[in-house]
């Protein structure tokens, strides 16, 4: 099990307390996102080859992973063997890929416990930095650092930043809504950060349970604005936070965001 976040965070009326995440689930996310398998296995309309670093985890001020780290880790994971079982993730070592998407690229979810534990040891530097992104982002909004404002006033404030092309930094915005999958509708809290990181939590009443962390590179001002305002769907029967967004109090005051 992996325990995240490291401490209790209070985010307006919501609460995010440390919870155990199954190791296989956590490992799958580390491999998909910072390690870049998700980028490699997502063909684009006019694609060609995809690169492992498209989510941009190597561009952080404190990179979660670098190309060199990745090569070394890939070699070590590929060499792992436990009770006759070895890593079944296809194309783990590839730094770019443009072929058919193999069925077993998400094999981490079915990884035997012992093998997963050995893999977790190897991935520890990346895994730890990946987990820290969650804690650091939550800290931006933790009481009393966060302030609930209307989505309308937040949108207006973001647009006011654009003439100078001063791209917001250290900004995170938490919104609540629903996401739909084939089998069910979930209520989620979503945090979009100005760096392009998205963290989602399943919401059970006021309790937040982590479900994913990934990045969408925001290379342009327009992409960053659109990303920050990309909220989960407002249900037909709205949640009490549906029209609101929780943002850092400091940013709110500096940019004159009304409530």
């Amino acid at each position: 099990m992996v325990r995240i976040p490291q401490r209790v965070f209070r985010l307006g009326p919501l609460r995010c307390a440390p919870r155990d995440i199954p190791l296989s689930v956590w490992q799958a996310h580390v491999i998909k996102h910072p390690f870049g398998l998700n980028a490699l296995m997502t063909p684009r309309l006019h694609g060609g080859k995809r690169r492992w670093d498209e989510e941009g985890w190597h561009t952080e001020a404190h990179p979660v992973i670098t190309g060199e780290m990745r090569r070394e880790i890939a070699e070590r994971i590929t060499a792992l063997s436990s009770e006759g079982k070895s890593c079944r993730v296809s194309r783990l070592s590839n730094e770019e890929y443009g072929g058919d998407v193999p069925n077993d690229w998400e094999a981490c979810y079915r990884c035997p416990q012992q093998l997963a534990e050995s893999c977790a040891e190897i991935l520890k530097p990346v895994s730890g930095a990946y987990a820290s992104v969650l804690d650091d982002t939550l800290a931006l909004l933790d009481d009393p650092n966060g302030k609930l404002v209307s989505r309308a006033s937040f949108a207006a404030a973001l647009w006011r930043c654009t003439p100078s092309h001063s791209r917001p930094k250290g900004l995170a915005a938490l919104s609540v809504g629903i996401i739909r999958s084939n089998d069910r509708t979930r209520t989620v809290a979503r945090i979009n950060s100005s760096a392009g990181t998205r963290i989602e939590f399943q919401l059970d009443g006021a309790e937040m349970r982590w479900r994913t962390t990934y990045r969408k590179p925001v290379r342009t001002v327009g992409a960053q604005l659109a990303f920050l305002m990309d909220y989960p769907e407002t249900p037909f029967v709205p949640h009490t936070l549906s029209d609101l967004v929780l943002i850092p109090r400091l940013w709110s005051e500096e940019n004159g965001v009304g409530s």
Partner: protein
């Protein structure tokens, strides 16, 4: 903080606030990504019926053709990078919807400039790539699934319906839902109807059981549905007889007699056009109806499942004679105020309501 609004009102507020902030700015220094987002936001506003500040059109009219071309190229890059794997289909559907808004916003921008979008550099390529994405989406996702995957943006579909170009999922096809029998009570009352279903119910009376059962078990949904029907009625949009009955019980259904006047192009004479009002389904009878109003007459057309209807009474005129193609037609003078509509089927079931004509 005020209570949360309906999703449509919420988006409209966000779009309006964005446009208000945008309209107080200039596009200098020019950034293609910002221009593309402004045009997309304008498209969002037009799709959802939000007010667009006139000063925004003034600003957009000053953007050069080359700059608009750069914004189009930015939009093209967005489409080209759409993921096409099944696992990431949600992102692709989102990109497609943004492209819809971008195109609508761009066409409106060109109107403000007195130019034609097709003449802009890159616009034809944009439409080709958009069509390419449509074809790909059509292979991977049904209309209903795409609308679900749109998330927040699905509420914009009330004003634009690109998803209808996708194949329909026959097990979830609104147009094929029989409003009385298609969904069993346990299933229909437990899933929240999608926006398309709610819209179809209000306008056509389709999926009545689903919508009304869900409303019966959910106070908030019931309140929102009432608000939505009231808003559409106030905006003089078609509200089906079934939605009206659910909302207002046995109160007469108001029907505006107003007929639009227009100048005939050839002669310059004033002509009155006929107006068609959809009344929707007539549950429990398997039929639906519309009214056609012109200067002197009101014509009721009822379209039945063959062999369903025995007798129709409308405005004091009754008939037992079916017309062609399973269509019943009753014509009455438009001078009357209140008109009883009564439809009886061969099994003895009836649908009854009063239509109240007003100027």
């Amino acid at each position: 903080m005020t209570a949360a609004q309906s999703p449509i009102a919420s988006i409209r507020d966000q779009v309006t606030s964005s446009l208000s902030a945008i309209s107080r700015q200039t596009f200098e220094p020019f950034d293609a990504s910002v221009a593309a987002l402004v045009i997309t936001t304008l498209g969002d506003a037009l799709r959802i019926g939000a007010t667009v500040p006139h000063s925004l059109f003034d600003q957009l009219s000053r953007v050069s053709e080359d700059q608009l071309g750069a914004a189009i190229n930015h939009a093209i890059e967005g489409l080209k990078s759409s993921p096409i794997s099944v696992a990431s289909i949600q992102e692709a559907v989102g990109e497609r919807d943004l492209a819809e808004s971008f195109q609508i916003g761009l066409v409106r921008t060109c109107l403000a400039r007195g130019s034609i979008s097709e003449m802009l550099p890159g616009f034809v390529a944009f439409k080709l790539i958009r069509t390419e994405l449509d074809e790909l989406l059509d292979q991977q996702v049904t209309q209903q699934r795409a609308e679900q995957l749109l998330g927040q943006r699905r509420w914009l579909l009330t004003g634009s319906d690109w998803t209808r170009r996708l194949r329909s999922d026959s097990t979830d096809d609104v147009a094929e839902i029989d409003s009385t029998t298609a969904l069993p009570l346990d299933a229909s009352s437990s899933f929240e109807p999608t926006v398309t279903v709610v819209d179809s119910y209000i306008r056509l009376g389709i999926a009545r059981k689903w919508v009304e059962d869900f409303a019966a078990n959910n106070d908030d949904f019931r309140d929102r549905l009432r608000e939505l029907i009231a808003a559409l009625h106030e905006a003089e949009e078609d509200v089906s007889l079934l939605a009206w009955k659910w909302w207002r019980g046995t109160a007469p259904v108001p029907v505006a007699k107003r007929v639009t006047k227009r100048l005939a192009a050839a002669s310059g004479d004033i002509r009155r056009t006929r107006r068609m009002i959809r009344l929707g389904r007539l549950d429990p009878i398997s039929a639906e109806a519309n009214l056609t109003i012109d200067d002197s007459d009101i014509v009721l057309n009822v379209f039945e499942q063959p062999g369903t209807i025995k007798r129709i009474e409308f405005g004091g005129t009754s008939t037992t004679n079916i017309g062609t193609d399973s269509t019943w037609t009753v014509r009455v003078a438009s001078s009357q105020a209140a008109m009883l509509l009564r439809v009886e089927d061969v099994r003895g079931q009836t649908f009854e309501t009063i239509l109240q004509l007003s100027e």
